[in-house]
Symmetry: D2
Subunit: 394 residues, 4 copies
Amino acid sequence: MHAQNPVFIPGPTNMPDTIRKACDVATLDHRSPAFAAMFRPAVAGVKRVLKMDAGEVFLLPATGTGGWEAAITNTLSPGDTVLAARFGMFSQRWIDLCQRHGLTVEILETPWGQGMPLDRIEAALKADTDGRIKAVLATHNETATGVRSDIGGLRKAMDRAGHGALLFVDGVSSIASMPFDFTAWGVDIAVTGSQKGFMLPAGLAILGVSDKALAAMDSATLPRTYFDLRDQQKGYAAGGYPYTPPVGLIAGLARSIELLEDEGLDAVFARHHRLAEGVRRAVAAWGLEICAASPALASDTVTAVVAPAGFDGTEVVKLAAEKYHVAFGVGLGAVAGKVFRIGHLGMLSDVMVLSGLATAEMVMADLGWPVRLGSGVAAAQEYFRGTVRLAAAA
Amino acid sequence: MHAQNPVFIPGPTNMPDTIRKACDVATLDHRSPAFAAMFRPAVAGVKRVLKMDAGEVFLLPATGTGGWEAAITNTLSPGDTVLAARFGMFSQRWIDLCQRHGLTVEILETPWGQGMPLDRIEAALKADTDGRIKAVLATHNETATGVRSDIGGLRKAMDRAGHGALLFVDGVSSIASMPFDFTAWGVDIAVTGSQKGFMLPAGLAILGVSDKALAAMDSATLPRTYFDLRDQQKGYAAGGYPYTPPVGLIAGLARSIELLEDEGLDAVFARHHRLAEGVRRAVAAWGLEICAASPALASDTVTAVVAPAGFDGTEVVKLAAEKYHVAFGVGLGAVAGKVFRIGHLGMLSDVMVLSGLATAEMVMADLGWPVRLGSGVAAAQEYFRGTVRLAAAA
Amino acid sequence: MHAQNPVFIPGPTNMPDTIRKACDVATLDHRSPAFAAMFRPAVAGVKRVLKMDAGEVFLLPATGTGGWEAAITNTLSPGDTVLAARFGMFSQRWIDLCQRHGLTVEILETPWGQGMPLDRIEAALKADTDGRIKAVLATHNETATGVRSDIGGLRKAMDRAGHGALLFVDGVSSIASMPFDFTAWGVDIAVTGSQKGFMLPAGLAILGVSDKALAAMDSATLPRTYFDLRDQQKGYAAGGYPYTPPVGLIAGLARSIELLEDEGLDAVFARHHRLAEGVRRAVAAWGLEICAASPALASDTVTAVVAPAGFDGTEVVKLAAEKYHVAFGVGLGAVAGKVFRIGHLGMLSDVMVLSGLATAEMVMADLGWPVRLGSGVAAAQEYFRGTVRLAAAA
Amino acid sequence: MHAQNPVFIPGPTNMPDTIRKACDVATLDHRSPAFAAMFRPAVAGVKRVLKMDAGEVFLLPATGTGGWEAAITNTLSPGDTVLAARFGMFSQRWIDLCQRHGLTVEILETPWGQGMPLDRIEAALKADTDGRIKAVLATHNETATGVRSDIGGLRKAMDRAGHGALLFVDGVSSIASMPFDFTAWGVDIAVTGSQKGFMLPAGLAILGVSDKALAAMDSATLPRTYFDLRDQQKGYAAGGYPYTPPVGLIAGLARSIELLEDEGLDAVFARHHRLAEGVRRAVAAWGLEICAASPALASDTVTAVVAPAGFDGTEVVKLAAEKYHVAFGVGLGAVAGKVFRIGHLGMLSDVMVLSGLATAEMVMADLGWPVRLGSGVAAAQEYFRGTVRLAAAA
């Protein structure tokens, strides 16, 4: 009888009932106008969420990893060079993917807990006088460390360097929960997945692709079929797909966008900021640190809590699951054991966050961490009390 | 994005997904063997939950109020006398129902916050030397005050009085969440509703009826058709109903019983006791009182928290709904404004309770009640930490 | 793998997915504005479907039988006389209910297969010079025989008799599938259930009550509590219920009305007429008769097919269920064995009807009935082909 | 009100309610034991359905096309040669995929309507004395033409040729609806998708991979990350995935296998054969031909009906959708316009098939095809009547 405890993993997120129901579609003919009528609003909605005023959106039956692969294979050729910072597990995985596909990755090693090193990127681009670097890979929100990077700043750095590289942004754990501006930031490909800010089950890789990136498709020679966006484009023009689309997820995506826009995107972002700030106040009240090296870097969708010396963050996650049936995220890669993570993206309320904080407190106490019961909850309560806008129950 | 906050009303309760899905049945022929195959296990399961070893269970398309009416109209005749204590809104409503149907109700006025006055009942029965009193009405769990009565003790009192009255028990907010023993307690009719301990939507009145009560049906002359249990009996014998049954609720009831028995009824009762005790520790830590006049009377399914002098409990409920989208119960009748109620029956976990307590704290602080943020949560956390049995996540 | 065959019982009907989902509501506080926001549109929608311009609609957690009981007990007193024709199982059941509640029923025995005998009713009313008759009970659509009665004509007959009796109409198997005009027909109480034209699960009795009938409530002395419409009225005024309402069914009813009005009520009625006519053409092609004594009496929601001499209609129903997993309706009461019934109300398409006809043909052939395979299907196909309006797939 | 008409496209198929519900899973932690407990039975079940006694099953968040790509990229290297027959749209697409990934495809052009040319394959393998051919691609069931190929015979031909090529089988529209024997046929990779015989939504590519094929992974140098089965293997060993798995589809797959095994795989295959034979009898009664060149080639999951001279099969599909809201499949590629296709795989009953046949008849009549209404239905009815085994309704 604990099945309804919220999850606090940094995705998949808790899902609203209405989205789950929207995903549960009786079989329809995906070559019929009925499907096109469902598909087109989803695509148009994603463009609004990403703030795209040109280019194309693609909805691939895959996860975010598939989205990364699609970004690379549709625009680059074997031997091409890309520039990336490595400062967390997800930036690392994207680098690895590039390498497996025969790209050369110029890696800027960056301490975990830091964001993208804009000055070093600028320098690397300036140094690339012969235009070897075809694309810059940016991890907007490092889910492993709870660190956000400044993509608008990155665009400015690229502009200052006067470099024409494509800008690819991993927005998997940021898009639809934190501000994102495809157009203003000059993004060429943005990648996310259905199971994060869109609050859907996993299974849909969502890509926003600029006209510049679309133009790169014809010369790109990395092999691809399943992820070949040219086939997708042809299908979309006819209201369909080159293969059987995940109809339910697309219907759910359309519903998700309705929910997001009913709440208002700015209100959604403000809600996540408020929830995140409540979590951070709790962590501070516990006397603990977060992994993000500075307040400006702190993510609004996931917080990595640093274990005190002598304690193991993974134990928090294990015990919370076993004893209280609540899911948090473990530390990954370089911060394995050193942190535990509280996801706070997607469908979430202040009340739900308080149950997560209360659970974390019990577990830390159980494990002997020097944390006082109720202390983090009280700090979050105090913050939440003062920041809710009184509104009629929806 | 607050739709998934738990509710803390004393019913309807939070519902497990699996029960909601079980209730959602495609249309089938309710005169077919397929329906009988669904219906019979539900009836048999209710017998086990009530601990009946004889008699019959009836599942009526109605609410608990309909169950009360069925109990009365099937066993009594105009002018008959019943004995009842009035000590809360629900005992009051049952009395009112009897009066509307032309029964004489001998009422034992009892302070709200007390349980059934066993000694006065015994005395009244002893005084009834000519057997005027045909039935004793007992409210097992007064939902309005969070008070449980001692039905086993009531049976002993009736036995001591040597009185042959029928014993009718309103177990609407107790059955399937608190111990109930139809056989040992010599209950003649037990009434509950689907939306409480069985964690279903409202719409099913559930009655356990003893052979003695069944035998009373033929001489009872109160008019009834919809609730006529003789028609039901005839239908059940053929695996069906005298009218169209609520197939989904019956399927859901069968699923509910599976869940309850998978957890184990004793474990279910222990869970509710633990959750209730956590709530009571929180109330004590807030420096507040509960409505139940003594610890032994405190219900394990709902706690009525008494507002401090000068404060209005109803305001807590209103503000919690408006500001935090969390539902508590208002005070009813004689305790309107004097209490607010925290329901903790049905599908609920310790983690969910903590979110309710945290919310109540915020609201009380918002309203200027002398309650320290985190205090009740900490008391409940401390209690919950020590009382959970470590088990593998289900 | 046959679970998705349509049902052809005369209710409960096949249900649209969207209605099933609307019924599946997470628990909400039924005393909150959120419930009122769900409840009021359902009530207003029923008024539109019934074509009421005054009076009140009540949604009771019960079935149609409960609706009948509510109609009687809220307006009449013990010993009152009502006038009714008996011409099928459902008119018989309503008569029986009245008798059990101590009313005197003046019964006009009428052959099964006929409709209400308007001339005899007029005569009976004219003969009732001292106003003994308080109400006329009318079965709009006799589900047992597939016969519709002329309620507009009945109103004229009552007017010609100059009699002030209330007019109570059982519209259980007609409302929302066949034309109904509460206002023009001067109906005082109309009763239906959720599981018929509204395509919901069973569990909601739906009543339209005129101001004249409402005014009768205060003097009516038949006992009632669960069905007391005065309590309902008080609750509705506050946006709520005197007890826990069936929230899911009410939400589903609101959705049902959206579907009906999106299609257009006249289009819904035309659809049922077309489907019924297809069934009747098939029956004629089989060389069989229907129970309705004349074409004008033939119901658009259910067709009772008369078994040829020497054959048993019930066998069709049994074999269809066992061999093909398709549900038809058996004959009831006076026509038990003499007919089998094909329900065609609620959510149904021409294509679904064809599968029912094809199944009935196989079964009749299996049983040795003199029916040629494909003959009824072909007749219905021919009719359906010519009567569909070409429209874009929804 | 036509949303519940069955679909007759050759996938996605009609879905049982219970599978749809199983797919609708509240968010859980996919790194938890709860996920492993859901995942392992699904993998084990697929092995039983494929009749694998060694090797590994992979469940990729993709469609069948992704499964093809995974088969190729995990076992082959740029420049490798594969042998394939081209005799329909799906064999063509797989060939195209290989070519895009830099493989050399030795193509055996084969008339559409024929199956795989075993003798020519044998000859080609015998001629490949230097072992250039690394894999033979076999399309078990050509969905475009409704033709099944003899995979057991293909294995024998390969054995006679004494050639060690890998055997890759596209079983997308056969597996779980038609007999398949991974072990006996010596299959190295079998590919299917969730939306066909498994009756799930699209979104899961399902691969059975032999130990021999697994051994080929390390030397294969085609680039892949998303589809890299080595990453999957590592994840599976820990009960998880290299990225977020589609939890709902995996839960649904486990439920699907329960349904298939409850019915019995042989009974499932027999059911599809019976339904297919009913369709073929109807086509014959219409006086039309099917695309499959001989009875032995006729698929049990999809029938391509050849349009008479002067008529366009695509018009049938268009008009059926517009006028009757029923989905059939158009002809693709070389048979575009020349056929229309009736899918009869997945969840389907004889009664549902009859509604499809009746609809096709109406449409053909509407379009002036020389087809008599009811003729095909009657032929199918006659066949279905004689071949159903009388069983109690489930």
